[in-house]
């Protein structure tokens, strides 16, 4: 028996097989397409704003072109305006406040005309120290408002521009307090939101300066645009991936009640921001998760899923639901059982998402179902007996790859008992048979052929279920009939050893020398 000294000898020719090259090409193609799509979407959003001229005829006109025409003008205006502000701040005489406000307003206008304000010019002219000065305590509201507005737009640009706001942060946070007028507080929250949206480092700075509690309190009122802006800023602040901000948020008295209240009643835009807060809480804080569950959040999420058609709202709501299910299937399933007969049952809303035209909803709904399907036999039966099944089977054959993978998880989980310990998990033959008869096998075999290792693994695992679990030994014939053997034999020389071993062992066990001997 050869030993490992010759391992490299054995590996090389296998690795250089053409199948490997083809697989690599496919993968590269997939990555390129994905990257291009992402860039497309970002560009589209940037293209949507209009310059000062209001010229909107041709969307193909790149932003760069539009900027080129106006930018020098704007930049010059910005510099001039900062100079004026400087002298207004220095001026101590009569009407000083009015001068300051006028200068601020002018700067603000220049910084609010287009999606790409002349931030760099303003910064190099020394805007920040002046704006910080204008934020001092006791300043009139108008001054605070205009100053915060300027800072907001400065922070909305490139990373270095956002970082430039560091000196202003303590004051911005201070003006979030309950004594501030609502517009001022909201504008400060907006600026802080932009800073938080920049990255983890700035988030940490904000947290250490105590930004979270006042911001959290701003979402207590029942309504108003302030609530929405503050909720958005808060979601940026806690998004992690570190969990300490989320943990701090949970400790704010009354915050979870406010969240539940808004989820239930408020308008869709605000609910969207609240939902993102819930996404992060449910992913990052176990305390928040259990308290929200106790507070009945699942029912509220299900209601929103049932009634809303806004994609922006549905995504975070669905994801929150998914996070709760992923953390604590039992809790969810208790509700499942209770609500089984109502239209707004969890299965019903997940079916609605599966039927949606939006890729993200389909994929994440399937993910949620796959986790529910890891529960007890009753829970699997519950999924299996509903409208969801034909939807899943159809999605397995027709939808894009990432959705198919999630659907595969659902279907496989439905067919297998959730095992304890090391024993081989038992097959639920009734489910397996009906799913296979529903025509799932081509879809799984297709997954076996995909370049994605995880998908191929799933496909092989499901094929093993079919080979082992179908009654009357039909398994091998069914697999062969769908070119399953071909798909598996492609793994003979696959670069991934685990898949090679899996495929080879199946072929050997079920399609060995004796196979077909009676034909």
């Amino acid at each position: 028996m050869a030993d490992d000294g010759s391992a490299s000898n054995r590996r090389d020719p296998i690795k250089s097989s053409v199948g490997h090259v083809a697989g690599q090409r496919r993968r590269q193609q997939a990555v390129t397409v994905a990257k291009e799509r992402r860039e497309l979407l970002v560009r589209a959003k940037r293209l949507c704003r209009v310059g000062t001229n209001g010229d909107v005829e041709d969307a193909l006109v790149e932003n760069e072109m539009m900027i080129d025409e106006e930018q020098p003008i704007l930049e010059a205006q910005a510099i001039k305006s900062v100079e004026e502000l400087k002298s207004a701040v220095q001026y101590q005489g009569k009407g000083a406040m009015q001068k300051r406000v006028t200068a601020l307003r002018e700067l603000r206008r220049i910084l609010s005309k287009s999606e790409f304000p002349p931030v760099e010019a303003a910064l190099s002219a020394g805007a920040i120290p002046l704006l910080v000065q204008c934020l001092s305590f006791g300043s009139p509201d108008e001054q605070l408002l205009e100053s915060a507005w300027c800072l907001t737009n400065i922070a909305a640009g490139k990373p270095e521009e956002t970082k430039a706001l560091l000196p202003a942060l303590p004051l911005l946070i201070a003006h979030l307090g309950e004594k501030s007028s609502a517009p001022v507080a909201e504008q400060c929250a907006w600026a802080i939101g932009n800073v938080a949206g920049e990255g983890e480092d700035l988030r940490n700075v904000l947290l250490s300066q105590g930004a979270l509690p006042p911001l959290a309190r701003m979402i207590f009122p029942d309504k108003g645009s302030t609530v929405r802006t503050a909720a958005w800023a808060l979601s940026n602040l806690i998004k992690g991936p570190e969990s300490k901000a989320a943990a701090q948020l949970v400790k704010v008295d009354g915050i979870l009640d406010a969240i539940l209240r808004h989820l239930k009643k408020t308008d869709e835009e605000t609910a969207t921001e609240i939902a993102w807060i819930i996404v992060y809480l449910s992913a990052l804080s176990d305390i928040a998760t259990s308290m929200l569950l106790k507070g009945g959040i699942l029912q509220l999420l299900i209601e929103r899923l049932a009634t809303s058609s806004s994609l922006q709202l549905l995504i975070p709501v669905l994801r929150s639901l998914g996070n709760f299910v992923a953390v604590d299937p039992k809790a969810v399933l208790t509700i499942l059982i209770r609500e089984q007969n109502t239209e707004e049952s969890i299965i019903g809303v997940l079916a609605k998402c599966l039927r949606s035209e939006h890729r993200v909803l389909k994929k994440e709904a399937a993910w949620v179902l796959s986790n529910i399907a890891t529960g007890s036999i009753e829970h699997k039966r519950m999924i299996h007996s509903t409208e969801v099944m034909p939807l899943l089977l159809r999605l397995l054959s027709t939808s894009p790859f990432d959705i198919r993978k999630e659907v595969a998880y659902v279907l496989g989980n439905l067919c297998v008992e959730s095992a304890e310990g090391d024993r081989k998990p038992g097959i639920i033959q009734e489910h397996l048979v009906s799913i296979v008869r529903g025509g799932c096998l081509p879809g799984f075999i297709e997954l076996v052929r995909s370049p994605d290792i995880e998908a191929a693994r799933l496909g092989l695992q499901f094929i093993e279920l079919v080979l082992r679990g179908m009654p009357n030994g039909e398994g091998p014939k069914l697999v062969e009939g769908e070119d399953g053997i071909d798909a598996m034999e492609r793994f003979q020389f696959h670069e991934n050893e685990e898949l090679r071993v899996m495929a080879n062992s199946l072929v050997d066990k079920y399609f060995g020398e004796d196979y077909g001997i009676d034909e």
Binding site: L41, C48, W149, N236, V507
Partner: protein, 306 residues
């Protein structure tokens, strides 16, 4: 039907046409002599000491899956949200706001195709995907293989799906074009073109323009029934004796996809590596015309000895 002789486990060495060789450990090796004295050789190659038995297989086990907020799993759902990470506070008149909203709703929905020279504007990511697949990937409508250029696609279609092409090949015309643009040379056979690519254009010997998929017996039979009578002739041959079926000559072996499959024990001895299937299926990685071509060749040559 020859009997299978079992050899003890050991190291086997296989050599390819260019002289490269590889060594494998065969833990089972069965060699069979057939009526025509061509060896069939079936070996089970184990690459690890661990047995690929029941204990090794990772059975399907339902486990819940949880992802952190920044996991790539959520990336597609996060795309729009990421764009809102920072927001500019714009100061627009009522008119400008309306104009902007209309603009956003209609025009910005359309995304320009990023491929140079393509004027297409798409409504959504899914539309883009469809457009991309339709226009910027050359995929065969018959068998779904994808090629990087339309020229290669059309070469593929002629060679793989066009019976007129095959007819001309059979009559001895030079039909197989060199794949390198600008070369212009044409060849009478797939193999000759293949050799030209290696000799003249430095292609790797393992490159295969046409990798035939292995079909199940049922599919093969079905496809064959759909073709003209000369292929029916093939089918009759197949049905007649499974031994003759297992006569695989060296040229057919050359057509195989995987590196291992292109190896033969020597230049004159054929080999068929398969995985335990009784009816030798190992060599379907050959375009039908090559298979047919070589079949006529081999009927005149004496069987190699080993």
């Amino acid at each position: 039907m020859g009997r299978w002789i079992r050899y003890s486990p050991g190291r086997i060495q296989l050599t390819n046409r260019s002289g490269g060789n590889v060594q494998l450990d065969a833990h089972f090796m069965f060699v069979r002599e057939t009526k025509t004295k061509i060896l069939n050789f079936f070996c089970f190659v184990q690459l690890r000491r661990r047995w690929l038995g029941e204990l090794g297989f990772p059975y399907w086990n339902p486990i819940r899956r949880r992802f952190s907020p920044d996991s790539p799993f959520f990336a597609s759902g996060n795309v729009e949200r990421e764009l809102l990470a920072k927001q500019v506070a714009l100061d627009l008149t009522e008119d400008e706001i309306n104009h902007l909203q209309k603009f956003v709703e209609t025009e910005s929905r359309r995304i320009s195709c990023p491929i140079v020279g393509c004027p297409e504007r798409l409504k959504s990511l899914d539309h883009f995907e469809d457009h991309y697949n339709a226009r910027h990937t050359a995929s065969c409508s018959v068998c779904s293989r994808v090629y990087p250029t339309s020229r290669l696609l059309s070469i593929h279609i002629s060679e793989a799906h066009d019976s007129f092409f095959q007819a001309k090949v059979a009559r001895g015309y030079d039909m197989y074009e060199c794949l390198v643009e600008g070369c212009g040379l044409k060849f009478k056979s797939y193999k000759a073109r293949h050799q030209h690519l290696i000799d003249k254009h430095k292609f790797p010997s393992t490159f295969e323009f046409f990798k035939k998929t292995q079909l199940s017996k049922k599919r093969r039979e079905k496809l064959q029934r759909q073709h003209v009578s000369r292929l029916k002739h093939e089918e009759d041959k197949e049905a007649a004796s499974s031994d003759a079926m297992e006569v695989e000559d060296k040229a057919s072996v050359d057509g195989l996809v995987s590196a291992l499959s292109t190896l033969t024990t020597s230049d004159t001895t054929p080999s068929n590596v398969s995985f335990g299937r009784r009816h030798g299926r190992g060599l379907t990685f050959v375009p039908r015309s090559v298979h047919k071509e070589k079949r006529t060749e081999s009927s005149s040559a004496p069987g190699p000895t080993n």
